[in-house]
């Protein structure tokens, strides 16, 4: 019996993922064929309800366990879905703790706004109904993922998320680029999931075998399963696995899975291409929800990760590298959505390395990372939606065909500016606080390299964000489309405004009091206030951007000339895609599957055919014995007699 026993929201928490699911079924099977409009509305309402419920839940939860207090994980509802063996079962359910609540709120909230926005954005597209079906499916999967009380449920929804994002990216299925993008996204993440799966198998099976150490299976409570997070994150399991030397490998495998979904280097290649999907989708999946699943996973398994310092460190450095790497590329892209995509990469890099620098004792990074996840969800969604509005208006993604949109679409302009300031970490916008905390945590735990990267990237981020802002909204129109552009409809602007408001104020939440891990959320402030250099680097970034791109664009041209080769390499995203292409097509297809196919046809199958041929041949050969000569026959007979007699003689005597 717990404090939430009589909270409606808690007792019916299962509705939060279930609502989008039901609406997915209803819309997909019954409404879609009838009316597109209704489909959109139903879908939106269902998610909005879920959002309402999850906020209610958050309210109840945090009033039951107020700020600073211990935040226990409670299972609101669960049932045994799949039983491999006793204590090796999947108890599908809803886990309610601060982490899952945070994600639930973010997901449902952003999702409902995106739904709303899409009603306007997708108007007139064919497959309107299909679009909302997919959107519901995705929301359901994402929610199922974040409420999972056991790792196998996580995996299950992890996969479903992958599929629904595949469907959404490939929404324009007649467009080859979209098709290949969706394939790429699915296969790359699937490849990562493979490692995730192996990791799950490893940790679950070892944990299962270890149960005897914690007393005979009988002595354990019946519903305990080796998949449960409650079991896996218990220190006993971690220690035991560590002794077997399996903890670090398992954790790294799982981290690879996370890296796949969160598009960390080198598995990031799918995310920029994923921009082929409708823009709201990018806002939902590739800004606020799916790409942070990796962060969520690492946070969820933070204890085992922390127990194996190495795994966490690997995560930290991968994050840091991605952070820098993506930021650099972002500076050169011309497609507004791609720039945002790369900025997403680098922001997720922040979150991951924040987790990476944290440890069982120094948990500031953990809080900071999730804080950034929280704020980032708002301003990055806002950026994407804003970009969507712009694209909607001018029908192009290339920033050099825009310009001077500030006057044409004021609301979009303001909101986009707010978001840009937020991501650039300018006080008092949300980004400032979270990013500052991350950098502080890196400094506080003496990871100076990472700290430096963080600081530097803060500047770069500000630079490229203002680059696109300036080029898009300021200056004079660079194309006819701009002149015809006009402000987006209400359904699209309302979400923008709401998100803008949040990006402005979200930073003031005293986040650490709500979401933290371990005993205390240690504020490991460095000797001097970290926010000063952070802010400075941000502002300097802005200044440089202004200097280069404001007014005439000669400067930027000159700059690109100057950089030359380096610029081209960066512009080509360091040729990572090409490398992948080479490996898959030239190596795997040509040197593995083609030979196997050949081997199968020629050797294995050939062997079978050869047997048949030899049999027939044998027949032909033996048939020659039938010469038609009576005396040949009789000779055979006489020899036969002798043979038989001799054989009997030999064998019997």
């Amino acid at each position: 019996m717990n404090e939430l026993a009589n909270s409606f929201a808690f007792n019916n928490a299962w509705l939060i993922p279930a609502l989008p699911f039901f609406s997915f079924l209803v819309v997909g099977l019954f409404i879609r064929p009838v009316s597109d409009k209704l489909a959109g509305i139903v879908a939106t309402l269902s998610v909005a309800t879920a959002a309402f419920l999850s906020i209610w839940l958050a309210f109840d939860y945090f009033s039951a366990f107020p700020a600073g207090a211990e935040h226990p994980g409670l299972i609101s509802w669960s049932f045994e879905w799949l039983r491999y063996e006793e204590h090796l079962a999947v108890n599908v359910g809803v886990l309610v703790d601060s982490l899952s609540i945070l994600l639930m709120v973010v997901v449902t909230f952003v999702s409902s706004l995106v739904h709303l926005y899409s009603i306007g954005y997708m108007k007139g597209e064919d497959g309107y109904g299909r679009y909302f079906t997919y959107l519901n499916l995705f929301t359901f999967s994402m929610l199922g993922l974040v409420v999972a009380p056991n790792i196998l449920q996580t995996y299950v929804f992890w996969e479903l998320v992958g599929v629904s994002s595949f469907l959404l990216i490939g929404f324009y299925y007649t467009k080859p680029s979209a098709v290949s993008a969706s394939k790429k996204a699915f296969i790359v993440t699937r490849f990562a999931d493979l490692f995730f799966l192996i990791g799950v198998l490893l940790i679950a099976v070892v944990g299962y075998n270890a149960m005897s150490m914690f007393g005979a299976p009988g002595s354990l409570p019946d519903n305990v399963s080796a998949f449960d997070f409650s079991y896996l994150t218990s220190s006993g399991v971690s220690i035991m696995m560590n002794n077997l030397g399996l903890l670090t490998p398992a954790m790294i495998l799982i981290f690879i899975g996370a890296a796949g979904k969160s598009a960390l280097f080198p598995l990031h290649i799918w995310l920029p291409d994923a921009m082929e999907g409708p823009t709201p989708v990018s806002a939902l999946i590739h800004a606020a929800t799916m790409v942070v699943a990796g962060v969520y996973l690492v946070a969820r398994l933070f204890m085992p990760f922390a127990a194996s310092g190495t795994a966490l460190l690997v995560a930290g450095y991968v994050g840091a590298f991605t952070c820098l790497f993506a930021a650099v590329i972002a500076c050169t892209q011309d497609d507004i959505k791609r720039v945002l995509a790369y900025s997403t990469l680098s922001q997720i890099g922040y979150m991951i390395f924040a987790l990476g620098v944290a440890s069982a004792t120094e948990t500031l990074g953990y809080t900071a990372s999730l804080f950034h996840l929280f704020t980032h969800a708002f301003f990055k969604a806002l950026l994407f939606l804003g970009a969507g509005a712009v694209i909607h208006a001018v029908h192009t993604n290339n920033i050099w065909n825009m310009g001077g949109l500030a006057k044409k679409m004021p609301i979009t302009n303001i909101t986009f500016l707010i978001a840009t300031l937020a991501i650039s970490g300018v006080w008092p916008f949300a980004g400032f606080f979270s990013k500052d905390e991350i950098i502080a945590s890196a400094f506080g735990t003496h990871h100076y390299v990472i700290f430096a990267v963080g600081l530097l990237v803060a500047g770069i981020t500000a630079f490229y964000m203002f680059r696109i802002y300036i080029v898009t909204f300021l200056g004079k129109a660079r194309s006819e489309a701009v002149n015809k552009a006009h402000e987006a409809p209400m359904t699209m602007t309302i979400p923008l405004i709401i998100l803008a408001a949040l990006s402005a104020v979200a930073g003031f939440v005293h986040f650490g009091d709500f979401v933290s891990v371990g005993a205390e959320s240690g504020h490991a402030e460095g000797g001097f206030p970290i926010w000063i250099p952070a802010l400075l680097s941000g502002l300097s970034g802005i200044a440089i951007a202004w200097f280069i791109y404001a007014g005439n664009s000669e400067r930027s041209k000159a700059l690109t000339e100057r950089l030359g080769a380096i610029y081209r390499v960066i512009y080509a995203k360091f040729y990572i895609d090409e490398i992948y292409l080479f490996v898959t097509h030239k190596i795997i297809f040509r040197f593995i599957s083609a030979p196997i196919a050949w081997f199968d046809k020629r050797i294995v199958d050939g062997g079978v055919d050869l047997t048949g041929w030899m049999t027939r041949r044998g027949g032909a050969v033996f048939s020659r014995l039938q010469t038609g000569q009576a005396q040949t026959y009789t000779t055979w007979m006489v020899n036969g007699v002798i043979a038989v007699a001799v054989l009997i003689w030999i064998f019997v005597s």
Binding site: S623, Q626, G628, Q629, A630, Q631, T634, T635
Partner: protein, 105 residues
């Protein structure tokens, strides 16, 4: 000096006869020749029966009876065979067994 042949002498004789018969069957090209060699085989066998009857089972006469029957059978066989040869000769104008080889393969 009086030489009285023993069992093995007789057996050797019949064996020689038998061998000649086999040889004939395998080598004679004329069907009639083959047939004659077969007769040799049968006779050597009949002879065996007589010999064994004489040396092995004295009071009984099964062997002798067998011999008689063998002669009869041999005759029957010869009749059929000759009839066939005649028929063949009509159609093919030869009884050379090596020439008669349309059925093969």
């Amino acid at each position: 000096m009086s030489f009285s042949p023993e069992l093995h002498h007789w057996l050797i004789l019949s064996t020689i006869l038998f061998s000649i018969g086999i040889y004939g069957v395998l080598t004679r090209r004329n069907a009639v020749g083959v047939l004659m060699s077969v007769e040799l085989l049968l006779n050597s066998a009949a002879m065996n029966f007589l010999i064994f009857n004489h040396y092995a089972s004295k009071p009984f006469i099964d062997g002798a009876i067998m011999a008689l029957f063998i002669i009869a059978v041999a005759a029957a066989e010869a009749v059929i065979a000759m009839a066939l040869f005649v028929a063949i000769f009509r159609s093919r104008k030869t009884v050379d067994v090596t020439q008669i080889n349309t059925l093969k393969g």
